[in-house]
């Protein structure tokens, strides 16, 4: 192997060497960090929500009839809607809710363990009808589901409900009571006049803001009557694979009960796509940037090797005259390329971590794991070899007799 002389020859022609080395290093730094961010976004987008998400639909109705101003009318209609939705062929269960998980819209309050001196915990919540566990497809880890009695409570003169029973997710239960003994215990708001008893703990699920790190998997379910004169919203869980057949009939079903409202039927998957639309766009953009950079660097290597072959035609002829086989000539250019790419990649590894450090500090990007860097280095190394091979192969066409030709 001619490693030593090739390296020394490269070092003798420093400008060309460092330009392409720098290009390889920069490409590695940018591509690996792009892929790192892309993978993080992708992991966020594709993570399990904890619900039976593939079979969940959202029916939103916006009433315009005058009778919706009456609370009792809404309450009765909601009951009627739920009964009708639950009996629709292919529907497994349904509930009424104030807002929708993975939608970016919802409510949060503050609660902490009863009598705790600590700060309150952020508590995203939904006011829901019954059938919470089965509609979302959650697991009841401890305690019980809502019972009819949970929906009967008194309000004070301000309309506040001073006490009611609640269901919470496991993560939220442990946030209130880190010992894991939350079931049956009470939580309170900051002032202490509103209290709740945890009657059931369910498996974790995404709330309305799954990318909110501090609130991840925290959900509290208040029993109540979520519908209002402005909006009535239902989550519908269908049988496995029945989403298409149910989708088209739900709107008419709801309008058949009361036509004085606008009805919108969507899948929870559509909410997810909306919620992550910025990340999805970013994934596409970063993928395109990575691909383009790789392409530009490959073309750079093709160009460099092709130029190198053209520029060194007589040298190739001389080497052939001195005994180099065609294989030796191809190897020469490939080794030269490996050295350039190799040094570029070592330099690039440092640049990659440097860039990642900056991105972590200023853009809250994920920290780079070394396997991704190694993968990126391999990708660029293979790209370099493939890019150099064709022009290197062309060098074998140079005849040894060119060595004796007059310039």
């Amino acid at each position: 192997m001619h490693f030593g002389p090739i390296l020394r020859a490269l070092m003798h022609n420093k400008t060309r060497f460092w330009l392409i080395t720098l290009e390889v290093g920069l490409t590695l730094a940018i591509v690996v960090n792009c892929i790192n961010v892309t993978l993080d976004f992708r992991a966020q987008y594709t993570h399990e929500s904890g619900m039976d998400e593939a079979n969940l639909m959202v029916v939103t109705t916006e009433p315009f009839g005058a009778e919706f101003k009456e609370e009792e009318f809404v309450e009765n209609l909601e009951r009627e809607d739920l009964a009708s939705l639950r009996s629709f062929p292919g529907v497994r269960d349904a509930l009424a809710t104030t807002s929708v998980p993975i939608s970016g819209g919802g409510s949060a309050t503050s609660r902490k363990a009863l009598g705790s001196e600590l700060d309150s915990e952020s508590t995203p919540y939904y006011i829901v009808s019954d059938h919470v566990v089965d509609t979302f497809g959650l697991e009841l880890l401890a305690g019980r589901r809502f019972e009819p009695g949970d929906f009967e409570f008194d309000e004070d003169e301000n309309g506040d409900i001073l006490h009611r029973n609640v269901l919470v997710t496991e993560t939220l239960a442990n946030a209130y009571y880190p010992e894991g003994d939350a079931l049956g215990k009470m939580v309170q708001n900051d002032e202490g006049q509103l209290t709740n008893t945890i009657v059931g703990i369910v498996s974790d699920m995404d709330n309305s803001w799954p990318t909110w790190d501090n609130g991840k998997h925290r959900v509290l379910f208040f029993p109540g009557q979520p519908g209002s004169d402005r909006r009535m919203r239902y989550i519908v869980r269908v049988d496995e694979g029945a989403i298409d057949s149910v989708f088209s009939g739900l709107e008419q079903r709801v309008l058949g009960i009361n036509p004085e409202r606008i009805v919108r039927v969507e899948t929870l998957g559509e909410y997810r796509e909306d919620y992550y639309s910025a990340q999805l766009a970013m994934i596409k953009m970063l993928s395109a940037v990575s691909f383009l950079l790789l392409l530009i660097t490959s073309l750079g290597i093709v160009g460099l090797t092709a130029f190198s072959v053209t520029q060194r035609t007589r040298q190739i002829g001389t080497r052939r005259a001195l005994g180099a086989t065609k294989g030796d000539i191809v190897r020469y250019f490939l080794v030269e390329n490996w050295i350039i790419t190799g040094i570029g990649l070592i330099l690039g590894a440092a640049m990659t971590y440097g860039l990642n450090f900056v991105l972590v500090s200023i853009a809250d990007s994920p920290k780079l794991e070394w396997p991704l860097l190694v993968g990126g280095m391999l990708l660029l190394w293979v790209t370099g070899v493939v890019a150099a091979y064709v022009p290197a192969q062309r060098a074998t066409l140079v005849s040894p007799e060119i060595a004796t030709r007059s310039v």
């Binding site: 002389p5 020394r8 020859a9 005259a321 001195l322 005994g323 086989t325 030796d328 040894p400 004796t404």
Partner: protein, 244 residues
């Protein structure tokens, strides 16, 4: 060392065929010092290319060191060029990005010789040409004469039986040219067959035997009354050429 019989070499373009060598036969004994002369286009370089296995030929047979090299593969020809032949070119053909040591090292690396043996051989070859003090110099830091001496060291480092020199003094002044010819004589005295292509009758005369080419054929100089016109570009022999 060299036995060529009826070698023909034709260069073809779309419209024209050029017979660079035509029925060319030559026998060179081991240890000979031969100079090849002739006007431009007479086939000197083509002869050198064929003799050095740098180029193929259409017909005829060629034995080099007793081995028939007429039908060898490209790989086999590379091996023979590397082991049996040393080349010296008019333009030196040193690799500009390699220093003197690495330039002389090139043929040995293609032979797969170990590092210690290579170092000894390179130092010995540079000793012969008197350039041991310039190991780390690059070609651009050397004079023309010094560059050609490096090329001579490169040609003889692998101890080939045959050295082919294509106008080795063509780019040098007369003092340097004489130095190179002195070196070639010295190498020849060590037992190596040397064939030099040259325009310069004075330098060519230093060879043990001189041959003359015209239109791809050998000329029998004894049959010519005045050989001088051969060296004019439009020279035409006064008698039909004969083969030697």
């Amino acid at each position: 060392m060299i036995r060529m019989q009826n070698i023909s070499k034709i260069y073809r373009t779309e419209h024209i065929e050029t017979h660079a060598l035509s029925g060319f036969s030559l026998h060179v004994e081991p240890g000979e010092f031969l100079s090849v002369m002739g006007p431009s286009g007479s086939g000197k370089t083509t002869f050198l290319n064929v003799a050095g296995l740098l180029d193929s030929f259409e017909s005829g047979t060629y034995h080099l060191g007793g081995e028939d090299v007429s039908t060898l593969s490209d790989r086999q020809m590379s091996r023979i060029r590397n082991e049996k032949i040393g080349f010296i070119f008019q333009s030196f053909n040193l690799i500009p990005d390699l220093n003197v040591f690495d330039n002389v090292d090139v043929p040995l690396r293609y032979r797969g010789v170990g590092a210690a043996t290579r170092r000894d051989a390179i130092e010995e070859a540079l000793e012969i040409v008197g350039l041991t003090s310039r190991l780390k110099h690059y070609p651009s830091q050397l004079s023309g004469g010094q560059q050609q001496r490096v090329a001579v060291a490169r040609a003889l480092v692998g101890t080939p039986g045959l050295i082919l020199a294509d106008e080795p003094t063509g780019n040098l002044d007369s003092a340097m040219a004489n130095e190179i010819m002195d070196l070639l004589e010295k190498i020849n005295e060590m037992g190596t067959t040397v064939i030099v292509v040259s325009h310069d009758p004075e330098l060519a005369a230093r060879a043990g035997r001189q041959i003359y080419l015209l239109d791809g054929r050998l000329i029998d100089m004894e049959s010519l009354e005045t050989p001088a016109p051969l060296f004019k570009p439009d020279a035409v022999p006064t008698q039909p050429p004969t083969q030697v």
